[in-house]
């Protein structure tokens, strides 16, 4: 059934509480936004009432603030520093362990991830998961953990009604309203008249549950209010970049002087890559216990801003911040198309909010766009370079 032909329901908080409990009974681990350390974080939760309630946020370049507000609902903010990638491709996970010594060892592989439910997934994060699917599932080799985590994943999406100042999902094809890639999607409506959710159930499990709730069908008025809140969200997000043009622009501006200018501000701290919902770079760590006969191989998130990321014997390929920022931005906005057929950016704005010096990727792009140098010169005139030796 096509999305627009499906019936929409009006769900109450109690309905969702019931769904939570039912999914717990079915053995799902549940993950959702909670308030912790002054931010809205994504954590495993054991009860529906652990979800954030009553917070509004303010984001700006390099700044993030939450305010409690009696009228605010569960999902009336945009995105916090974390994304759901931390559950699909964990920051640290054991690849395998080996016991023995170099003269004889055996390898054992840990268990698969549990089946999970994600609560409150914005369309930018759904888009990010779709992009990670291309990276981890559609190439010659598969990230087996990610694949297993995705198999039984249930996504409860929310229409994003309160985008932040740093959001620019409308610059991509996505926008704030989920249109696919979810099991249940909710638009939260909280006003003087009450607090409810306009719901669209997509997967069979959810459709059956919706049926059993005997929830009311949404009226024309309900639907209109829901779509108006989304339209307002869209109106609040100016278009900040043209992804296709950006991709072409960056290809021919690898030697632009602006990279140096960004580097004078960038701390090479890697925050942008950690908060980015699509950044997938990782490294491996080998950890051996003191006896020397037990060793573990771990996969951990890594970042192209980290010094030894590009290290090969003799030195780093990218020792300068200029080259690291260029790598990050050209990967996100340009090379990603060549590699995976889509943008690597979804316009969630996290990298802008969580940059300690407030670097805004869209502004840096605009600066290059305002003054492009054009195609890189073919340096076949190799006057500046001296051939020192053959090895």
């Amino acid at each position: 059934m096509r999305s627009k032909d499906r019936p929409r329901y009006v769900l109450t908080v109690d309905h969702l509480r019931g769904l939570f409990d039912e999914l717990s009974d079915q053995g799902y681990e549940q993950v959702g936004p909670i308030f912790r350390d002054g931010a809205i974080m994504l954590e495993k939760i054991n009860s529906f009432d652990e979800l954030t309630l009553g917070y509004l946020e303010q984001q700006d370049k390099g700044s993030y603030n939450l305010d409690q507000h009696p009228d605010a609902g569960y999902f009336q903010y945009s995105v916090g520093p974390q994304s759901f990638k931390k559950f699909l491709n964990p920051p640290r996970r054991k690849l395998w362990e080996a016991n023995g010594s170099s003269s004889n060892f055996e390898i054992t592989v840990p268990e698969r991830p549990a089946k999970m439910v994600f609560w409150g997934v914005r369309n930018c994060d759904i888009e990010a998961i779709r992009i990670l699917d291309k990276v981890f599932l559609e190439g010659a080799y598969v990230n087996d953990w990610y694949q297993a985590a995705k198999e039984d994943l249930l996504i409860i999406a929310v229409g994003c009604t309160h985008p932040s100042k740093n959001c620019f999902c409308t610059s991509f094809d996505s926008g704030p309203m989920p249109y696919e890639g979810y099991d249940l999607s909710l638009v939260e409506v909280k006003d003087g008249a009450g607090h409810h959710f306009i719901a669209d159930g997509k997967s069979d499990l959810i459709k059956h549950w919706l049926n059993d709730t005997e929830a009311q069908l949404a009226s024309k008025d309900d639907l209109e209010i829901a779509s108006r809140t989304i339209e307002e969200a869209i109106d609040n997000m100016p278009i900040r970049l043209n992804p296709k043009e950006a991709s072409e622009l960056l290809k021919t501006n690898l030697e632009h002087s602006h990279w140096e200018q960004v580097a004078s501000r960038c701390l090479s701290c890697a925050n942008c890559t950690l908060v980015c919902p699509t950044c997938f770079c990782s490294t491996t760590e080998d950890i051996t216990d003191i006896s020397g006969d037990h060793t573990e191989r771990w996969l951990t998130w890594d970042s192209c801003f980290v010094g030894d990321f590009s290290y090969i014997h003799g030195g780093q390929i990218r020792p300068s911040t200029r080259s690291r920022y260029r790598q990050w931005m050209t990967h996100k906005l340009s090379n990603w198309y060549d590699q995976f057929g889509s943008s690597g950016c979804v316009g969630c704005g996290r990298c802008i909010t969580w940059c300690p010096v407030g670097i805004d990727i869209t502004e840096e792009l605009a600066a290059i766009n305002d003054n492009p140098v054009g195609p890189a010169k073919d340096k076949k005139s190799r006057g500046n370079e001296k051939h020192k030796g053959s090895t």
């Binding site: 690849l95 030697e255 770079c281 590009s310 990218r318 790598q327 340096k379 076949k380 053959s390």
Partner: protein
């Protein structure tokens, strides 16, 4: 093992031979029934030293006795040092084979120009072996090898046999030499004058330090070899070798899966951009 590309297959060190002060060649045989797929010239494996780590190493010879693997390892870091210190009988984890091949088996009746710098000779040795085994498929065959010093020369026995083989033109040069050295001194690109080939019918493979390859490519192009007949082998940091860790990117390419062997036409826009 268990279907995951992250899990190595265990191989035993069955022999070791010393190439020079910090280079060793290993022969590896599977410990159990499981072996990796047959490897081809230009491909590489990830080699794991117990408790230390894993590094990408090209195949340096292809023996008819599959599944025996041959890898030449240079002592340049923590993992490579651990690997070369392993005694015969110890175990190395192997994942692979990865990356495209040198397109040597696809070449028919072309002249061949191989340019190697230092340990860049290792990934090209299987190409030379293939050519000698299928000599009738090729026209003139030239191997130009440059290394730092006569002490850095590797594969002595092979080199002696290649030098005395009239069917290939093997040339060697060093950057610096001791007084008794009677051979060439200078950069490897100078040897191109001693190579015999018809440029319009020549395929060239280069492997060595990036700066050497860059000038080697210019020398090939200046000699009239067409751009799309030039191939090179890139080196980057690799953690996964399966296109998932992001470390080995050069522009839009992943060195592990799009390379390490690249047609020059793919690398051309990126070779001259520093710190890419």
């Amino acid at each position: 093992m268990n279907g995951s590309p992250w899990n190595p297959v265990l191989y035993k060190v069955s022999s070791k031979s010393i190439e020079n002060a910090d280079l060793l060649t290993f022969e590896l045989d599977p410990v159990g029934d499981e072996a990796i797929d047959p490897i081809a010239p230009g491909q590489f494996n990830m080699l794991y030293a117990f408790g230390i780590g894993e590094i990408p190493i090209s195949v340096s010879s292809i023996l008819p006795s599959y599944p025996t693997l041959v890898h030449t390892i240079q002592d340049v870091g923590r993992v490579s040092k651990s690997l070369i210190q392993l005694p015969v009988g110890d175990i190395i984890g192997v994942r692979g084979p990865f990356g495209p091949e040198w397109p040597v088996a696809q070449v028919k009746s072309k002249d061949v120009l191989l340019i190697a710098g230092g340990v860049g000779l290792c990934p090209l040795r299987p190409v030379i072996e293939y050519i000698l085994d299928h000599r009738e498929q090729f026209g003139e065959v030239n191997v130009l090898f440059g290394t730092r010093h006569p002490d850095n020369i590797i594969y002595h026995r092979d080199i002696i046999s290649w030098q005395s083989d009239p069917s290939i033109n093997f040339q060697i040069t060093v950057d610096h030499a001791f007084p008794s050295w009677r051979g060439n001194v200078g950069v490897v690109t100078h040897l191109i004058d001693k190579a015999k080939f018809y440029p319009e019918n020549t395929i060239s493979f280069l492997c060595g330090p990036e700066v050497m390859m860059r000038f080697g490519i210019y020398a090939c192009l200046d000699a009239g070899i067409s751009e799309d007949m030039v191939y090179l082998s890139m080196e980057r940091n690799m953690k996964c070798a399966i296109g998932l860790c992001g470390h080995c990117q050069v522009g839009p390419y992943f060195t592990c899966k799009d390379g390490a062997v690249f047609p020059y036409t793919m690398m051309k826009p990126y070779l001259n951009i520093s710190e890419l």
